[in-house]
Symmetry: C3
Subunit: 444 residues, 3 copies
Amino acid sequence: MTDLLSMLANRADADPGQGLHDFAASLFPICRSITGDGVRQTLARLGERLPLEVVEVPSGTPVLDWTVPSEWNICDAYIRDAAGRKVVDFREHNLHVVNYSIPVRAKLPLTELKKHLFSLPDHPAWIPYRTSYYQESWGFCLTHRQLESLADGEYEVCIDSTLQAGSLTYGECVLPGTSDEEVLVSCHVCHPSLANDNLSGIVVAAALAELLRGTAHRFTYRFLFIPGTIGAITWLARNHDAVGRIRHGLVLTCVGDSGGFHYKKSRRGGAEIDRATAHILHHQSEGAKILDFSPYGYDERQYCSPGYDLPVGCLMRSVWGTFPEYHTSADNLDFLKAEALAESLQVCAGIFDVIENNHTYRNLKPHGEPQLGKRNLYRSVGGTNPKQIMLARLWVLNLSDGTNSLLDIAERSGLPFNEIRHAAESLMNADLLIPTISPERTTL
Amino acid sequence: MTDLLSMLANRADADPGQGLHDFAASLFPICRSITGDGVRQTLARLGERLPLEVVEVPSGTPVLDWTVPSEWNICDAYIRDAAGRKVVDFREHNLHVVNYSIPVRAKLPLTELKKHLFSLPDHPAWIPYRTSYYQESWGFCLTHRQLESLADGEYEVCIDSTLQAGSLTYGECVLPGTSDEEVLVSCHVCHPSLANDNLSGIVVAAALAELLRGTAHRFTYRFLFIPGTIGAITWLARNHDAVGRIRHGLVLTCVGDSGGFHYKKSRRGGAEIDRATAHILHHQSEGAKILDFSPYGYDERQYCSPGYDLPVGCLMRSVWGTFPEYHTSADNLDFLKAEALAESLQVCAGIFDVIENNHTYRNLKPHGEPQLGKRNLYRSVGGTNPKQIMLARLWVLNLSDGTNSLLDIAERSGLPFNEIRHAAESLMNADLLIPTISPERTTL
Amino acid sequence: MTDLLSMLANRADADPGQGLHDFAASLFPICRSITGDGVRQTLARLGERLPLEVVEVPSGTPVLDWTVPSEWNICDAYIRDAAGRKVVDFREHNLHVVNYSIPVRAKLPLTELKKHLFSLPDHPAWIPYRTSYYQESWGFCLTHRQLESLADGEYEVCIDSTLQAGSLTYGECVLPGTSDEEVLVSCHVCHPSLANDNLSGIVVAAALAELLRGTAHRFTYRFLFIPGTIGAITWLARNHDAVGRIRHGLVLTCVGDSGGFHYKKSRRGGAEIDRATAHILHHQSEGAKILDFSPYGYDERQYCSPGYDLPVGCLMRSVWGTFPEYHTSADNLDFLKAEALAESLQVCAGIFDVIENNHTYRNLKPHGEPQLGKRNLYRSVGGTNPKQIMLARLWVLNLSDGTNSLLDIAERSGLPFNEIRHAAESLMNADLLIPTISPERTTL
């Protein structure tokens, strides 16, 4: 009986969120992109914790409507002023270079240079994050204060990067369950030093995988650590069979800031993952908001494209693009909160507890109420809320006619899924309930 | 054409509610329980008014998952203090004894006695109501003031009760209609001197039965006067055929206090009885509330168990358990209001008027509007609200395509069912409408 | 690609509303009724602008449940006081005579005359509008001030009217499209000098027809200029085949006052015309209200009778009967606003743009997002709102699985239909989308 929430509650670590934050901190300095050594280094760290298969797909490989791009790597980049001082230095912050900038070495007057400089006038102390994946160009990002302090004159620019045939790299961690039906957990690993938008999803997904490794589970879990868009497209192009086995899925992103939860539903809108997540957020996290699907966002865009239409939603705390720190140097390790990461892990655990245990039962004494008193199941019950425990039993008995799953019952009764699940267990133990189909025998 | 509301309006009695209250008053002193002579006495009084079949089911009879219990009767009970004074006396109020207390004669010090005493510290002048049906024990209920006035010392307790093989008793009044499809009206008769929770349902159900006896009706009505839970279970166990004929049903309870109406929907949620009751309450009683089904409450729990799933809801004024007088001596004849009982009867009459007359018709001139003017059906109409009368006719003509019942039309138009029904009658008389199926020929 | 809104926007006329108002002004003085020369004169004016077939149906012809009535015409009518002065004169205002008054020449004392006089005490300067179509009688309408100024004494009344065998006249303008599926636009032409209630619908319908004549369109459009009720019934009785081809329809009435829009849904409630109109009003006109169907109102009553159940709604600005000027002389050319007429025409154009272009497409690259960047369809777009343009493309791609029409997509995305339509066009041009069925080949 998978019970991830109890496992989390019973764990020894005094502060589980701190462990997540520490892992994020160790990944923070790496200069990731959609290809290149930054992704490989990140996956290497994940591989120390998880059974991770690292996949390399050569540049030029056709993937669905796209082509795997050239691989980008970077050693150094800077702008020197006329006096030879580095006024912008990639080694100080990897956001200083427009991601995927082609190599350049040149001397330019400030007016020419400025065409390649990006800053945020509204947040003069922050460096913006910019990319140029699919059109060859180069540029530097800097704080607006830096920009304004640049005197007229000639500048030397150097971007010591390579953009050439190589491969796209992604990591895949598969945890087999008793069934070959799959749950997909996907997060992107393509952002350089950005914490909430990138690392929060990675560390929570990794912790979830570690948690699942420690217990029996029904579903096979597949964790994807992939570059955004092109990574998801590459994976989809290469995994036709696995796609057909996906029953539920979550994209994890921006799950580390202190904002309230937001869940963006799958294209289907009423998929079990949508209902399970809404249920858990309703009961576990006050003020959470459920958003309708839209075809813009993270890799749910790909998983929910009409040819796949997978039941994959996107779990966030603050919604990308709505907080000012998004895609700037202010999305840093201070912006990431240990307790927020821990809570996100708990929510995911709650969701997968629902998915794992959402069976449908049949009441074996469906005519009238069975006499719970003689079975010590009526009132004479322990627990912190004996009335709720009894109510949950009555709801499970009443609705278990073979058509209502435990999640259906939890939704209709307004009681938490866990209470309903425990009621079903006690009724099973009293031979009042049987599952309609042995879930272990579920195959495709 | 069944028209219970008109029958009620045209009755001679100046104050119909007073008659209901008087009947309740005559039943109030009887010490009822789930078995025993109190139920028999109550049914005897009902039998003076209604054609009542009284059924005795022997102790030990298996009924669904339950067993008919031993029969309980009581003659006397008291507590005497050291001076020989009765400090608690069953003959003063039958709530003083825990219902189903086993016989006891003993002398006890106050400390021991207190383990068997129950009071309400928050309502120090009220006696609580307690039962001990399914575990053998004994006890006294008393006001908190009584409890606090007990001096230390030895007390003599006497409960002159019997708990032995006998039978469970219930009453059944069947009023045959033109169809053998049935409407079930069920109320519990197992509470001792409690007025709203017990007697209000009994007297309203009895008055409804008397009303129906005085007119032709389509459905066969079955009124059950039964002990709660075990009575419903016993009846269900013994009446498989009748169960299959039930088309609509109401549990009546707590219909005599001055609170607003509450209707708890059947498990099905959208059954005709649910819609009819919601419609009548909406039009007849301001502020009524419709509650979703839950598997806790009165005998709708049994009728709506998944093996039966009968379309049976529960009509209440104040909801049991939510008013302080509930299950105390304050639920007495003062708490019961004549006008509230009369209004409850009216609501039931309105509901059964809907159920009886909710036919589906077909417009015989469905192409364009028939010319109502030449039939004297357009505007040139009497009544207190000629515009509403005409609107009702247009609605009935427009929606009577053989798929909409009169209740469907009432709901969509927002007009009262009675207005819609009268419109259908006038259109029938003008040969503009025919019923889709002769309701008289409806059989199972 | 039908684009009526662009055609309207690109038209030369500086003030399109003024043209509509001028046309209404030219029709205002004509004394129309449900039959007679007033209708013929009105249709003759329409025939100068549109290819109009004028149909005459003889009195006495049975039409559905009705009979075409005798034809009514009027030359003159007045009331003279004892001094021979005309105190009420039809030639001053055609509302002065109760429409369909039988001929009369008589002398009457004031007390007798008053039985035939109608005024509005609450609006003493306005003349009411009254009819007496289906019972033979006569009367005069006058301002309450006129009524009060009448001195006792004898009066001479003259109504120089004829009510005799003739015909009912209506006009029909059919604009063939590539498909023989039809769109019905219906307005009544039976009111005398009333502007909003009558002329507003006529002039907007005529302008719509003129607009449609200037462009290719898919549907065949049928404009009916008919007497209310009996005209619709007559047309329905005679056009069984055309009725079967109607796919969408609008009744236009009261579309010229300065109030906000109201759309009354068809009996079906969720017909495409209902959704298209709600969508356009939501995006084009703030504060518009959508009303549920009811079987009372204009000729949607006939089109939505159960034997036809056509998807025909009713577009209004202020709802008939809810503004004080309704059916009085105050519903005049001042009450009719040029800009309101122009806006009503725009709304109709928007609605028919939706109806014409609401195709269903299939995404030819449904697996993952197609790479829009390489097709210059991602961000690198012009327009006033590039982000909305890109979003519209993503929505169309995501939902175009062959089951969602463009209107479905507009509704779900919350984007205006036009944006969705343009997105579909650009995706078609990029070979990313094909229609599921060539709409040109749609036949019945």
